[in-house]
Protein backbone atom coordinates (compact mmCIF):
# COMPACT_ATOMS: atom_id res chain seq x y z
CA UNK A 1 0.00 0.00 0.00
CA UNK A 2 1.14 3.53 -0.68
CA UNK A 3 2.93 5.09 2.25
CA UNK A 4 2.67 8.68 1.01
CA UNK A 5 0.24 9.84 -1.66
CA UNK A 6 0.40 13.35 -3.07
CA UNK A 7 -2.65 14.27 -5.13
CA UNK A 8 -2.72 17.47 -7.18
CA UNK A 9 -0.53 19.37 -4.78
CA UNK A 10 0.67 22.93 -5.34
CA UNK A 11 3.68 24.13 -3.41
CA UNK A 12 5.24 27.45 -2.65
CA UNK A 13 5.71 30.20 -0.12
CA UNK A 14 3.15 32.81 0.86
CA UNK A 15 0.63 31.58 -1.70
CA UNK A 16 3.05 32.04 -4.59
CA UNK A 17 3.09 28.60 -6.05
CA UNK A 18 6.32 27.31 -7.52
CA UNK A 19 4.95 23.91 -8.42
CA UNK A 20 1.42 23.18 -9.56
CA UNK A 21 -0.61 19.99 -9.57
CA UNK A 22 2.04 17.51 -8.71
CA UNK A 23 1.10 13.86 -8.30
CA UNK A 24 3.20 11.05 -6.95
CA UNK A 25 3.10 8.09 -4.59
CA UNK A 26 5.73 6.56 -2.42
CA UNK A 27 5.39 2.90 -1.44
CA UNK A 28 6.97 1.27 1.53
CA UNK A 29 10.54 0.29 0.68
CA UNK A 30 10.88 2.64 -2.28
CA UNK A 31 13.97 4.69 -2.98
CA UNK A 32 12.71 7.90 -4.55
CA UNK A 33 15.10 10.52 -5.90
CA UNK A 34 13.80 14.02 -6.49
CA UNK A 35 15.83 15.70 -9.18
CA UNK A 36 15.55 18.90 -11.18
CA UNK A 37 17.17 22.26 -11.70
CA UNK A 38 17.80 24.82 -8.99
CA UNK A 39 14.60 26.63 -8.12
CA UNK A 40 12.37 23.88 -9.39
CA UNK A 41 10.91 23.41 -5.92
CA UNK A 42 12.73 20.30 -4.70
CA UNK A 43 13.53 21.64 -1.27
CA UNK A 44 10.09 23.22 -0.96
CA UNK A 45 8.52 19.85 -1.67
CA UNK A 46 10.65 18.32 1.04
CA UNK A 47 9.68 20.99 3.55
CA UNK A 48 6.04 20.59 2.62
CA UNK A 49 6.22 16.84 3.19
CA UNK A 50 7.67 17.56 6.62
CA UNK A 51 4.94 20.06 7.40
CA UNK A 52 7.38 22.98 7.67
CA UNK A 53 5.73 24.79 4.76
CA UNK A 54 1.94 24.71 4.39
CA UNK A 55 0.44 23.12 1.31
CA UNK A 56 -1.22 25.63 -1.03
CA UNK A 57 -3.71 23.19 -2.51
CA UNK A 58 -4.15 19.48 -3.02
CA UNK A 59 -3.65 16.72 -0.54
CA UNK A 60 -0.85 14.70 0.94
CA UNK A 61 -1.98 11.48 2.55
CA UNK A 62 0.09 9.43 4.89
CA UNK A 63 -0.78 5.77 5.24
CA UNK A 64 -2.09 4.46 8.54
CA UNK A 65 0.50 4.32 11.22
CA UNK A 66 2.75 6.93 9.65
CA UNK A 67 2.51 10.25 11.38
CA UNK A 68 4.07 13.33 9.86
CA UNK A 69 6.52 13.51 12.75
CA UNK A 70 7.68 9.95 12.22
CA UNK A 71 9.67 10.96 9.20
CA UNK A 72 13.42 11.10 9.71
CA UNK A 73 14.93 14.21 8.20
CA UNK A 74 18.48 14.94 7.14
CA UNK A 75 18.54 18.68 6.47
CA UNK A 76 21.27 20.62 4.77
CA UNK A 77 23.80 21.90 7.25
CA UNK A 78 23.34 25.38 8.58
CA UNK A 79 25.89 28.06 9.41
CA UNK A 80 24.99 27.81 13.09
CA UNK A 81 26.15 24.21 13.23
CA UNK A 82 29.64 24.96 11.99
CA UNK A 83 30.89 26.20 15.36
CA UNK A 84 28.24 24.71 17.61
CA UNK A 85 29.76 23.23 20.76
CA UNK A 86 28.00 19.88 20.98
CA UNK A 87 29.15 16.30 21.38
CA UNK A 88 28.07 13.69 18.84
CA UNK A 89 26.02 11.87 21.49
CA UNK A 90 24.06 15.00 22.38
CA UNK A 91 23.11 15.57 18.76
CA UNK A 92 22.07 11.99 18.04
CA UNK A 93 19.99 11.93 21.20
CA UNK A 94 18.16 15.07 20.11
CA UNK A 95 16.64 12.93 17.34
CA UNK A 96 14.48 11.34 20.03
CA UNK A 97 12.95 14.72 20.83
CA UNK A 98 9.76 13.92 18.92
CA UNK A 99 9.15 10.91 21.17
CA UNK A 100 9.42 12.96 24.33
CA UNK A 101 6.44 15.21 23.90
CA UNK A 102 6.37 17.36 26.99
CA UNK A 103 8.56 15.05 29.05
CA UNK A 104 11.67 17.07 29.87
CA UNK A 105 14.34 14.38 29.85
CA UNK A 106 15.26 11.38 27.71
CA UNK A 107 14.51 7.98 29.18
CA UNK A 108 16.67 4.87 29.11
CA UNK A 109 14.96 3.49 26.04
CA UNK A 110 15.71 6.62 24.04
CA UNK A 111 19.32 6.62 25.14
CA UNK A 112 19.55 2.99 24.03
CA UNK A 113 18.00 3.87 20.69
CA UNK A 114 20.57 6.62 20.19
CA UNK A 115 23.38 4.16 20.97
CA UNK A 116 21.98 1.62 18.52
CA UNK A 117 21.76 4.16 15.75
CA UNK A 118 25.29 5.36 16.41
CA UNK A 119 26.42 1.72 16.07
CA UNK A 120 24.43 1.45 12.87
CA UNK A 121 26.25 4.46 11.43
CA UNK A 122 29.64 3.34 12.77
CA UNK A 123 30.21 6.38 14.91
CA UNK A 124 30.30 4.89 18.41
CA UNK A 125 34.03 5.54 18.66
CA UNK A 126 33.52 9.26 18.17
CA UNK A 127 30.44 9.66 20.38
CA UNK A 128 32.13 12.06 22.78
CA UNK A 129 33.96 14.04 20.13
CA UNK A 130 32.83 17.58 19.36
CA UNK A 131 30.67 17.75 16.24
CA UNK A 132 32.35 20.89 14.94
CA UNK A 133 35.72 19.17 14.66
CA UNK A 134 34.49 16.24 12.56
CA UNK A 135 34.95 15.80 8.82
CA UNK A 136 32.01 16.45 6.50
CA UNK A 137 31.35 12.73 6.04
CA UNK A 138 31.38 12.06 9.77
CA UNK A 139 29.03 14.97 10.37
CA UNK A 140 26.56 13.54 7.87
CA UNK A 141 26.70 10.18 9.65
CA UNK A 142 25.90 11.92 12.92
CA UNK A 143 22.91 13.70 11.42
CA UNK A 144 21.79 10.46 9.76
CA UNK A 145 21.94 8.68 13.12
CA UNK A 146 19.86 11.49 14.57
CA UNK A 147 17.30 11.15 11.76
CA UNK A 148 17.12 7.40 12.40
CA UNK A 149 16.22 8.09 16.03
CA UNK A 150 13.13 9.86 14.77
CA UNK A 151 11.91 7.16 12.40
CA UNK A 152 11.65 3.45 11.70
CA UNK A 153 10.10 3.94 8.31
CA UNK A 154 10.91 6.93 6.14
CA UNK A 155 14.02 9.05 5.69
CA UNK A 156 13.99 12.36 3.86
CA UNK A 157 17.44 13.42 2.76
CA UNK A 158 18.09 16.92 1.47
CA UNK A 159 21.20 16.85 -0.72
CA UNK A 160 23.07 14.48 1.58
CA UNK A 161 26.28 14.52 -0.43
CA UNK A 162 26.60 18.26 -1.01
CA UNK A 163 30.16 19.33 -0.32
CA UNK A 164 31.53 15.83 0.26
CA UNK A 165 34.53 14.51 -1.62
CA UNK A 166 34.01 11.61 -4.11
CA UNK A 167 35.11 8.80 -1.78
CA UNK A 168 32.94 9.96 1.07
CA UNK A 169 30.08 10.55 -1.36
CA UNK A 170 30.07 6.94 -2.51
CA UNK A 171 30.33 5.78 1.11
CA UNK A 172 27.30 7.87 1.90
CA UNK A 173 25.33 6.36 -0.98
CA UNK A 174 26.28 2.87 0.13
CA UNK A 175 25.12 3.69 3.63
CA UNK A 176 21.76 4.96 2.39
CA UNK A 177 21.40 1.92 0.15
CA UNK A 178 22.04 -0.32 3.14
CA UNK A 179 19.30 1.44 5.09
CA UNK A 180 16.96 1.05 2.13
CA UNK A 181 17.72 -2.68 2.03
CA UNK A 182 16.86 -2.84 5.73
CA UNK A 183 13.38 -1.71 4.75
CA UNK A 184 13.52 2.03 5.30
CA UNK A 185 11.85 4.09 2.60
CA UNK A 186 14.17 6.73 1.19
CA UNK A 187 13.19 10.06 -0.31
CA UNK A 188 16.20 12.02 -1.46
CA UNK A 189 16.62 15.43 -3.02
CA UNK A 190 19.66 15.30 -5.22
CA UNK A 191 21.66 17.19 -7.78
CA UNK A 192 23.59 14.10 -8.64
CA UNK A 193 21.50 12.65 -11.46
CA UNK A 194 23.88 9.80 -12.27
CA UNK A 195 23.79 8.55 -8.69
CA UNK A 196 20.03 9.02 -8.61
CA UNK A 197 19.65 6.82 -11.65
CA UNK A 198 22.14 4.32 -10.25
CA UNK A 199 20.67 3.87 -6.78
CA UNK A 200 17.00 4.77 -6.74
CA UNK A 201 13.93 2.78 -7.67
CA UNK A 202 11.79 5.80 -8.57
CA UNK A 203 12.47 9.28 -9.90
CA UNK A 204 10.51 12.47 -9.48
CA UNK A 205 11.78 15.04 -11.93
CA UNK A 206 10.71 18.60 -11.26
CA UNK A 207 10.98 21.66 -13.45
CA UNK A 208 9.44 22.61 -16.77
CA UNK A 209 8.67 19.03 -17.60
CA UNK A 210 7.49 17.00 -14.67
CA UNK A 211 8.03 13.29 -14.57
CA UNK A 212 7.20 10.70 -11.99
CA UNK A 213 7.73 6.99 -12.38
CA UNK A 214 10.13 4.15 -11.97
CA UNK A 215 13.77 4.56 -12.89
CA UNK A 216 13.37 2.39 -16.01
CA UNK A 217 10.51 4.51 -17.29
CA UNK A 218 12.48 7.66 -16.54
CA UNK A 219 15.44 6.58 -18.65
CA UNK A 220 13.10 6.10 -21.59
CA UNK A 221 11.13 9.32 -21.06
CA UNK A 222 11.88 12.55 -22.85
CA UNK A 223 12.47 14.44 -19.57
CA UNK A 224 15.00 11.88 -18.45
CA UNK A 225 16.79 11.71 -21.76
CA UNK A 226 17.09 15.45 -22.02
CA UNK A 227 18.24 15.91 -18.44
CA UNK A 228 20.77 13.12 -18.63
CA UNK A 229 22.05 14.45 -21.92
CA UNK A 230 22.36 17.97 -20.55
CA UNK A 231 24.04 16.67 -17.48
CA UNK A 232 26.63 14.69 -19.40
CA UNK A 233 27.09 17.62 -21.66
CA UNK A 234 27.84 19.91 -18.75
CA UNK A 235 30.20 17.33 -17.31
CA UNK A 236 32.07 17.19 -20.60
CA UNK A 237 32.26 20.93 -20.68
CA UNK A 238 33.62 20.98 -17.15
CA UNK A 239 36.32 18.52 -18.02
CA UNK A 240 37.27 20.34 -21.19
Amino acid sequence: MALITAANISLGYDKHSIVKELNFTVNSGDYLSIVGDNGSGKSTLMKTLLGLVPLISGQIQFADGLKANEIGYLPQQTVIQKDFPAAVREIVLSGCQGRCGLRPFYNREEKKLAMQNMERMGITDIKDRPYRNLSGGQQQRVLLARALCATQKVLLLDEPVAGLDPNVTSEMYTLVEKLNNEGITIIMVSHDITAAVQYSSHILHMGETVFFGSKEEYLKSSAGKKFLFDFEHVEEKNYA
Partner: protein, 281 residues
Protein backbone atom coordinates in the same frame (compact mmCIF):
# COMPACT_ATOMS: atom_id res chain seq x y z
CA UNK B 1 40.61 43.32 54.15
CA UNK B 2 38.74 40.39 55.64
CA UNK B 3 37.51 42.55 58.51
CA UNK B 4 36.23 45.06 56.03
CA UNK B 5 34.23 42.39 54.21
CA UNK B 6 32.87 41.04 57.49
CA UNK B 7 31.91 44.52 58.55
CA UNK B 8 30.01 45.10 55.32
CA UNK B 9 28.33 41.71 55.61
CA UNK B 10 26.68 42.90 58.83
CA UNK B 11 24.47 45.14 56.74
CA UNK B 12 21.40 43.33 55.43
CA UNK B 13 21.36 45.32 52.17
CA UNK B 14 24.85 44.10 51.33
CA UNK B 15 23.81 40.51 51.94
CA UNK B 16 20.71 40.99 49.80
CA UNK B 17 22.80 42.52 47.06
CA UNK B 18 25.16 39.58 46.99
CA UNK B 19 22.38 36.99 46.99
CA UNK B 20 20.47 38.76 44.24
CA UNK B 21 23.62 39.47 42.25
CA UNK B 22 24.67 35.84 42.25
CA UNK B 23 21.17 34.65 41.28
CA UNK B 24 20.95 37.15 38.44
CA UNK B 25 24.38 36.19 37.19
CA UNK B 26 23.38 32.54 37.26
CA UNK B 27 20.25 32.91 35.15
CA UNK B 28 21.67 35.46 32.76
CA UNK B 29 24.46 33.07 31.82
CA UNK B 30 22.16 30.11 31.15
CA UNK B 31 20.51 31.46 28.05
CA UNK B 32 23.67 33.22 26.92
CA UNK B 33 24.88 30.10 25.16
CA UNK B 34 21.65 29.82 23.18
CA UNK B 35 21.65 33.50 22.30
CA UNK B 36 25.22 33.47 21.09
CA UNK B 37 24.71 30.31 19.06
CA UNK B 38 21.46 31.49 17.52
CA UNK B 39 23.16 34.75 16.56
CA UNK B 40 20.79 36.62 18.85
CA UNK B 41 23.45 38.34 20.95
CA UNK B 42 22.18 41.74 20.01
CA UNK B 43 18.63 41.05 21.10
CA UNK B 44 19.81 41.29 24.69
CA UNK B 45 21.28 44.68 23.97
CA UNK B 46 18.18 45.94 22.18
CA UNK B 47 15.89 44.72 24.92
CA UNK B 48 17.92 46.39 27.63
CA UNK B 49 17.33 49.73 25.94
CA UNK B 50 13.65 48.97 25.77
CA UNK B 51 13.75 48.23 29.47
CA UNK B 52 15.38 51.62 30.01
CA UNK B 53 12.57 53.32 28.08
CA UNK B 54 9.97 51.47 30.14
CA UNK B 55 11.79 52.41 33.32
CA UNK B 56 11.63 56.07 32.27
CA UNK B 57 7.87 55.82 31.79
CA UNK B 58 7.49 54.17 35.17
CA UNK B 59 9.57 56.89 36.80
CA UNK B 60 7.60 59.66 35.16
CA UNK B 61 4.22 58.34 36.24
CA UNK B 62 5.70 57.75 39.68
CA UNK B 63 4.96 54.08 39.99
CA UNK B 64 6.09 52.53 43.22
CA UNK B 65 6.79 49.14 41.74
CA UNK B 66 8.43 49.78 38.40
CA UNK B 67 8.76 46.07 37.66
CA UNK B 68 5.05 45.88 36.76
CA UNK B 69 5.48 48.11 33.76
CA UNK B 70 9.06 47.24 32.74
CA UNK B 71 8.50 43.50 32.63
CA UNK B 72 5.45 43.39 30.33
CA UNK B 73 6.85 46.00 27.94
CA UNK B 74 10.16 44.18 27.63
CA UNK B 75 8.48 40.81 27.14
CA UNK B 76 6.28 42.28 24.44
CA UNK B 77 9.28 43.71 22.60
CA UNK B 78 11.16 40.42 22.92
CA UNK B 79 8.28 38.60 21.26
CA UNK B 80 8.04 41.23 18.52
CA UNK B 81 11.78 41.13 17.83
CA UNK B 82 11.82 37.37 17.57
CA UNK B 83 8.89 37.40 15.17
CA UNK B 84 10.43 40.04 12.93
CA UNK B 85 13.72 38.17 12.92
CA UNK B 86 12.36 35.77 10.34
CA UNK B 87 10.24 37.06 7.54
CA UNK B 88 9.22 40.66 7.33
CA UNK B 89 10.25 43.72 5.45
CA UNK B 90 12.45 44.93 8.25
CA UNK B 91 15.33 42.59 8.84
CA UNK B 92 16.06 41.38 12.35
CA UNK B 93 19.15 43.41 13.12
CA UNK B 94 17.66 46.60 11.72
CA UNK B 95 14.50 46.06 13.77
CA UNK B 96 16.57 45.64 16.91
CA UNK B 97 18.56 48.77 16.20
CA UNK B 98 15.35 50.71 15.53
CA UNK B 99 13.54 49.64 18.66
CA UNK B 100 16.55 49.99 20.94
CA UNK B 101 17.65 53.43 19.85
CA UNK B 102 14.07 54.65 19.73
CA UNK B 103 13.40 53.44 23.25
CA UNK B 104 16.60 55.01 24.51
CA UNK B 105 15.77 58.37 22.97
CA UNK B 106 12.18 58.43 24.21
CA UNK B 107 13.23 57.25 27.64
CA UNK B 108 15.70 60.07 28.08
CA UNK B 109 13.29 62.57 26.59
CA UNK B 110 10.53 61.58 28.98
CA UNK B 111 12.81 61.72 31.98
CA UNK B 112 14.06 65.11 30.93
CA UNK B 113 10.71 66.70 30.25
CA UNK B 114 8.70 65.32 33.14
CA UNK B 115 11.28 64.59 35.77
CA UNK B 116 10.75 65.99 39.23
CA UNK B 117 14.14 64.88 40.43
CA UNK B 118 16.82 67.44 41.16
CA UNK B 119 19.60 65.17 40.02
CA UNK B 120 18.50 64.09 36.55
CA UNK B 121 21.93 63.20 35.20
CA UNK B 122 22.56 61.04 38.23
CA UNK B 123 19.25 59.22 37.78
CA UNK B 124 19.89 58.51 34.12
CA UNK B 125 23.44 57.43 34.80
CA UNK B 126 22.36 55.02 37.50
CA UNK B 127 19.71 53.48 35.25
CA UNK B 128 22.21 53.04 32.45
CA UNK B 129 25.15 51.78 34.47
CA UNK B 130 23.48 50.32 37.54
CA UNK B 131 25.78 52.11 39.97
CA UNK B 132 24.18 51.59 43.35
CA UNK B 133 20.67 50.33 42.59
CA UNK B 134 21.58 46.81 43.68
CA UNK B 135 22.35 48.14 47.14
CA UNK B 136 19.08 49.99 47.51
CA UNK B 137 16.73 47.08 46.83
CA UNK B 138 13.85 46.70 49.24
CA UNK B 139 13.03 43.37 50.80
CA UNK B 140 10.12 42.90 48.40
CA UNK B 141 12.30 43.60 45.39
CA UNK B 142 14.82 41.07 46.64
CA UNK B 143 12.03 38.54 46.97
CA UNK B 144 10.73 39.20 43.44
CA UNK B 145 14.25 38.94 42.04
CA UNK B 146 14.80 35.67 43.86
CA UNK B 147 11.50 34.17 42.69
CA UNK B 148 12.07 35.21 39.08
CA UNK B 149 15.65 33.92 39.07
CA UNK B 150 14.67 30.57 40.50
CA UNK B 151 11.87 30.21 37.93
CA UNK B 152 14.26 31.02 35.12
CA UNK B 153 16.67 28.35 36.31
CA UNK B 154 13.85 25.82 36.70
CA UNK B 155 12.44 26.55 33.26
CA UNK B 156 15.89 26.21 31.79
CA UNK B 157 16.50 22.83 33.42
CA UNK B 158 13.09 21.49 32.45
CA UNK B 159 13.37 22.60 28.86
CA UNK B 160 17.10 22.04 28.50
CA UNK B 161 16.80 19.27 25.90
CA UNK B 162 14.22 21.16 23.90
CA UNK B 163 16.24 24.35 23.95
CA UNK B 164 19.22 22.33 22.73
CA UNK B 165 17.21 20.78 19.89
CA UNK B 166 15.73 24.10 18.81
CA UNK B 167 19.07 25.87 18.99
CA UNK B 168 21.01 23.25 17.09
CA UNK B 169 18.57 22.66 14.28
CA UNK B 170 15.21 24.37 14.20
CA UNK B 171 14.00 22.70 11.01
CA UNK B 172 14.77 19.23 12.24
CA UNK B 173 13.15 19.95 15.58
CA UNK B 174 10.00 21.12 13.84
CA UNK B 175 10.03 18.12 11.53
CA UNK B 176 9.99 15.69 14.45
CA UNK B 177 7.11 17.57 16.00
CA UNK B 178 8.81 19.85 18.52
CA UNK B 179 6.91 23.08 18.73
CA UNK B 180 9.92 25.18 17.85
CA UNK B 181 7.99 28.43 17.61
CA UNK B 182 6.59 27.97 21.09
CA UNK B 183 10.05 27.34 22.47
CA UNK B 184 11.46 30.36 20.65
CA UNK B 185 8.73 32.35 22.31
CA UNK B 186 9.62 30.86 25.66
CA UNK B 187 13.26 31.77 25.10
CA UNK B 188 12.26 35.33 24.22
CA UNK B 189 10.13 35.70 27.34
CA UNK B 190 12.84 34.31 29.58
CA UNK B 191 15.41 36.65 28.03
CA UNK B 192 13.15 39.58 28.74
CA UNK B 193 12.77 38.52 32.37
CA UNK B 194 16.52 38.11 32.72
CA UNK B 195 17.16 41.53 31.27
CA UNK B 196 14.77 43.24 33.58
CA UNK B 197 16.40 41.45 36.50
CA UNK B 198 19.90 42.21 35.38
CA UNK B 199 19.10 45.88 35.04
CA UNK B 200 19.21 46.07 38.83
CA UNK B 201 22.66 44.60 38.90
CA UNK B 202 24.61 46.15 36.07
CA UNK B 203 22.31 48.78 34.57
CA UNK B 204 20.76 48.63 31.16
CA UNK B 205 23.81 49.37 29.04
CA UNK B 206 25.92 46.56 30.43
CA UNK B 207 23.41 43.71 30.46
CA UNK B 208 24.56 42.09 27.23
CA UNK B 209 27.98 41.68 28.74
CA UNK B 210 26.49 39.64 31.57
CA UNK B 211 24.66 37.44 29.06
CA UNK B 212 27.35 37.00 26.45
CA UNK B 213 30.76 36.93 28.13
CA UNK B 214 30.32 33.81 30.27
CA UNK B 215 28.94 31.88 27.28
CA UNK B 216 31.79 32.95 25.02
CA UNK B 217 34.35 32.14 27.71
CA UNK B 218 32.92 28.65 28.22
CA UNK B 219 32.80 28.03 24.47
CA UNK B 220 36.54 28.61 24.31
CA UNK B 221 37.18 25.77 26.72
CA UNK B 222 34.53 23.13 26.17
CA UNK B 223 33.16 21.25 23.23
CA UNK B 224 29.85 19.90 24.37
CA UNK B 225 26.69 21.75 25.13
CA UNK B 226 26.17 20.51 28.67
CA UNK B 227 29.68 21.45 29.80
CA UNK B 228 29.52 24.80 28.03
CA UNK B 229 26.24 25.62 29.75
CA UNK B 230 27.40 24.51 33.20
CA UNK B 231 30.75 26.19 32.94
CA UNK B 232 29.28 29.47 31.74
CA UNK B 233 26.98 29.44 34.77
CA UNK B 234 29.96 28.84 37.06
CA UNK B 235 32.06 31.57 35.43
CA UNK B 236 29.19 34.00 35.63
CA UNK B 237 28.50 33.37 39.31
CA UNK B 238 32.16 33.52 40.28
CA UNK B 239 32.73 36.72 38.30
CA UNK B 240 29.65 38.38 39.76
CA UNK B 241 30.70 37.45 43.29
CA UNK B 242 34.26 38.69 42.90
CA UNK B 243 33.09 41.76 41.03
CA UNK B 244 30.81 42.70 43.91
CA UNK B 245 33.52 42.04 46.51
CA UNK B 246 36.00 44.18 44.62
CA UNK B 247 33.48 46.96 44.23
CA UNK B 248 32.70 46.89 47.96
CA UNK B 249 36.36 46.97 48.93
CA UNK B 250 37.55 49.44 46.34
CA UNK B 251 34.41 51.54 46.19
CA UNK B 252 34.04 51.08 42.44
CA UNK B 253 30.64 50.95 40.66
CA UNK B 254 29.14 47.44 40.96
CA UNK B 255 28.00 46.89 37.36
CA UNK B 256 31.11 47.91 35.54
CA UNK B 257 33.33 46.07 38.01
CA UNK B 258 31.44 42.82 37.43
CA UNK B 259 31.65 43.26 33.68
CA UNK B 260 35.36 44.05 33.92
CA UNK B 261 35.88 40.79 35.82
CA UNK B 262 33.88 38.98 33.14
CA UNK B 263 36.14 40.44 30.46
CA UNK B 264 39.26 39.34 32.35
CA UNK B 265 37.76 35.83 32.68
CA UNK B 266 37.10 35.78 28.96
CA UNK B 267 40.70 36.72 28.16
CA UNK B 268 41.97 33.97 30.48
CA UNK B 269 39.62 31.43 28.89
CA UNK B 270 40.60 32.56 25.43
CA UNK B 271 44.27 31.92 26.00
CA UNK B 272 43.74 28.69 27.94
CA UNK B 273 41.52 27.57 25.09
CA UNK B 274 44.36 28.22 22.65
CA UNK B 275 46.75 26.26 24.86
CA UNK B 276 44.37 23.30 25.18
CA UNK B 277 43.57 23.45 21.49
CA UNK B 278 47.27 23.42 20.71
CA UNK B 279 47.78 20.40 22.95
CA UNK B 280 44.84 18.56 21.39
CA UNK B 281 45.95 19.10 17.83
Amino acid sequence: MLEKIIMYMQYPFVRYAIIVGVLIALCSSLLGVTLVLKRFSFIGDGLSHVAFGAMAIATVINMTDKMFIILPVTILCAVLLLKTGKNTNIKGDAAIAMISVGALAFGYLLMNVFSTSSNLTGDVCSTLFGSTSILTLTKEEVLICAILSVSVVLIFILFYNKIFAVTFDEDFAKAVGTKADTYNLLIAVVIAVIIVLAMNLVGSLLISALVIFPALSAMRLFNNFKMVTMFSAIISVVCAFFGMMISILAGTPVGSTIVAVDVVAFVICYFSGMLIGGARA
